[in-house]
């Protein structure tokens, strides 16, 4: 049975209070419209310890687990999906440093994330490849004390505001299987030869940027290698196993937030001289939403605790991500429907919960990729 302990309850309470105090609907809609990063709110969240809560104390974290990070993400997204996703993605991919990086890299970069001084970005996917990362064309060649990087990345979140990127590079073009020749390298945003190009408006969460990255003879120290050389692909997959829990947490918060707004609406809205909450079709929609939310929550909590206990496998993580984001999609969809015309209007918020849910559903592993993972680990790969 899942129960939050005292400390977890306090975290939840604190996050809730923060969101209630700092998240202003009109302001959020302005950030979204102007595609402007919410700097103050991000810094405040970091100040309160909500970013990097799963980092060790020495790196300005709270030495807590992913389970606590899930609590933070859920509560933030419940109050506002776009703001919640943005804040909890501030240190996106920094877990690659945390799990695989050298002590030097950890000391240098993690505290900045946790303290709200830096944003990070994950540069994995390429324009000429696919999100399954089976072929990487960005190369990093060791020359003296440096890696020299050339290539292109795309779908880099925080792309225009990040201070550093975790970049998946081909470091051994002669590897028997391409993915065996890949490595993760940290690249500072200000390095010469690195340029970003905005990818324009996206379906949701527009206050967080998304860009292409171009590397033209970008030189970084050899010590910027994260983890072992040649283990890039494996480590990214491990990171995905972890990060999918975060997406699931964002999804359950998003679902919960849309559900609560819809519930409030149907109680107040009258049609045919009755609150629409009195209609069985409406009531059963609420029941369906409850089923989906509870079920997605359990999967997410279970995944988080398995991770914290070193027992999370890629299969369970993948199925949690599918189930939780699908639930968010279905719940936000019903919430839009319950609000009718208001559900479609920006002012009533739910429409952006709905868009954000879609983004969560299709990003970092769409159904094809994730179901392939589940099948591969269940049946094995077969020709």
């Amino acid at each position: 049975m899942f129960e939050f302990d005292k400390s977890q309850q306090q975290i939840q309470k604190a996050v809730k209070a923060f969101a209630k105090g700092e998240f202003d609907k009109e302001q959020i809609q302005e950030f979204e419209k102007n595609r402007e990063y919410p700097i103050q709110i991000w810094k405040k969240a970091a100040e309160l310890g909500f970013i990097g809560i799963h980092y060790p104390e020495q790196f300005s974290g709270a030495n807590l687990g992913i389970f606590e990070n899930v609590i933070v993400a859920e509560e933030l997204c419940r109050k506002d999906s776009s703001m919640g996703i943005t804040i909890t993605m501030a240190g996106y991919a920094s877990e690659c440093i945390l799990r695989f990086g050298s002590d030097e890299l950890k000391s240098k970069y993690l505290p900045k994330i946790a303290e709200g001084e830096s944003l990070s970005g994950g540069a994995f996917i390429e324009p000429d490849s696919n999100s399954d990362l089976c072929r990487i064309f960005t190369t990093a060649v060791k020359k003296g004390d440096s890696w020299v990087i050339n290539g292109k990345k795309t779908f880099v979140l925080n792309g225009s505001s990040a201070d550093f990127y975790i970049v998946l590079c081909q470091t051994d073009p002669n590897a028997s299987i391409p993915i065996n020749g890949t490595s993760l390298i940290l690249v500072d945003a200000k390095t010469d030869g690195l340029s970003t190009a905005d990818q324009g408006t996206k379906l949701g969460t527009n206050m967080m940027s998304m860009t292409d990255l171009k590397f033209e003879n970008v030189k970084v120290p050899v010590t910027n290698l994260i983890g072992e050389e040649g283990k890039g692909y494996d480590n990214v997959q491990k990171f995905f196993t972890e990060s999918r829990i975060l997406f699931a947490a964002q999804a359950i918060g998003t679902a919960q937030g849309a559900y609560e707004r819809a519930l409030e609406y149907i109680k107040g809205r009258e049609q045919f001289n009755r609150p629409i909450a009195a209609f069985q079709s409406v009531r059963h929609k609420i029941a369906d939403m409850c089923i989906k939310i509870e079920s997605a929550k359990l999967l997410t909590y279970e995944s988080a605790q398995r991770f914290d206990n070193g027992k999370l496998d890629p299969k369970f993580s993948a199925l949690t991500k599918i189930a939780a984001t699908n639930a968010a999609m279905e719940v936000t969809n019903e919430a839009v429907q319950l609000l009718g015309g208001y559900g479609y209007m920006t002012e009533y918020e739910i429409e952006h919960f709905y868009r954000d849910a879609k983004v969560l559903q299709i990003r970092e592993g769409n159904f094809t990729v994730l179901k392939d993972i589940i099948a591969n680990t269940t049946i094995g790969k077969l020709k």
């Binding site: 089976c134 324009g200 379906l203 045919f272 079709s281 015309g341 879609k358 559903q361």
Partner: protein, 381 residues
């Protein structure tokens, strides 16, 4: 067998429209979406070229065409990547009220403009406190000598900013029965007491101007009444078959456009092994399921168009089509984004826009739940 029999005239008309849209609409649709409105002149261009109100008789400048012309316009508009130039709404949903119920004077005054695009129309039923429940409308229309005084507010009005005339549902507070109290009036933009509110921001239909409308002791001539006083509800009901059919057509044609786009995408986009996505069996099955739903939906909608042209009572069927096609279209668009993965986030691709636009179709013109409610009555459950 062909359910719909397009003549050579129809096909010529379609070709001319297609050329027109390729030249005058498609190249600008991205800009209009950004502008959150279409330029007023595009309505005039549409009208001048004979693409508005094709069913209005020649007497008033129209084509006097059958409903197949409406179907052609609806279908071709679906591929333009914009929703603001909502010709089917104007031509096949709003203007028919005027055309069928308006006095000869009103028709002479407004119909030629509706056809030429000089008069853009809107219909104002929904109010902040009343969505699908027409019995709870609050806007009042009180006769005062030769005038009628309208007061109240309306919301979610498409063409709310650009409209030149609006057909307003309002009730006589002296009549007890809320249905018998309803009448329809034509109100011109610019009439004192009639104010257009600010444009509403919404999930999709960005190039479409949706707005609130306010009436504050707005005085109009009594002759602006449509049909007979107290028949507003019946008139609204009488037009629902066509309205629902038009919604179903729009949704279906939107799904067809999406299918073409996603199939093309899957044939070019490659997976990690260099194989096009369309070689993935999971993707194939998803596309096949979409194609089947669309093909089956198309057959049904075509059949309803044919029945509608024959003036059959297909209230049940059009209500079914409204909820079925709009749910199907949302499913097709949603699944397409799921297939695209990260590419599906990028608004520069058209499918995300289509997904946002599609979402309103299961809400507007009577939510799908209202459709099911109506059908359950028609099925005598």
């Amino acid at each position: 067998m062909d359910i719909l029999r397009y003549t050579e005239q129809h096909n010529d008309f379609r070709q001319r429209l297609r050329n027109f849209l390729a030249e005058e609409v498609k190249p600008y649709s991205d800009q209009w979406e950004k502008d959150h409105i279409v330029p007023r002149e595009i309505w005039n261009k549409m009208g001048k070229n004979g693409f508005l109100c094709t069913s209005v008789s020649k007497e008033y400048g129209g084509l006097g065409g059958d409903f197949l012309y409406s179907a052609i316009v609806c279908e071709e508009m679906a591929a333009t990547g914009q929703t603001g130039l909502a010709a089917p709404l104007h031509s096949d949903v709003v203007v028919p009220y005027l055309d069928e119920y308006g006095s000869v004077e009103l028709k002479k005054k407004y119909l030629p403009g509706c056809v030429s695009g000089e008069v853009v129309t809107a219909v104002a039923m929904t109010e902040p406190g009343a969505g699908s429940d027409l019995s709870s409308l609050q806007t009042t229309a009180i006769e005062d000598g030769d005038e009628v005084v309208i007061s109240g507010s309306k919301t979610f009005i498409s063409n709310g900013i650009l409209c030149d005339i609006v057909i307003v549902a309002a009730k006589d507070p002296a009549v007890q029965d809320p249905y018998q109290a309803l009448s329809l009036y034509v109100v011109e933009a610019g009439t004192p007491g009639f104010d257009k509110g600010k444009q509403l921001e919404k999930m999709g239909w960005h190039s479409q101007d949706t707005a609130e409308l306010f009436f504050n002791n707005c005085r109009i001539p009594k002759t602006n009444l449509l049909g007979e006083k107290g028949y507003g509800f019946l008139m609204l009901m009488g037009k629902l078959q066509q309205e629902r059919l038009v919604c179903s057509m729009g949704a279906l044609y939107g799904a067809e456009v999406c299918l073409k786009q996603i199939v093309a995408y899957c044939k070019t986009k490659k997976d990690g092994t260099g194989k096009p996505l369309s070689k993935s069996q999971a993707v194939q099955f998803a596309l096949v399921e979409m194609a089947a739903d669309i093909k089956i939906g198309r057959t049904f909608v075509d059949k309803l168009i044919a029945d509608h042209i024959e003036k059959k009572d297909i209230k049940t069927e059009t209500s079914m089509a409204k909820f079925w096609t709009t749910e199907m279209t949302n499913r097709v668009l949603g699944k397409s984004l799921e297939i695209m993965g990260e590419d599906g986030m990028v608004e520069a691709n058209l499918i995300p826009r289509g997904w946002r636009d599609a979402r309103v179709t299961s809400i507007f013109a009577g939510t799908n739940e209202i459709m099911k409610f109506i059908i359950s009555k028609l099925m005598q459950l």
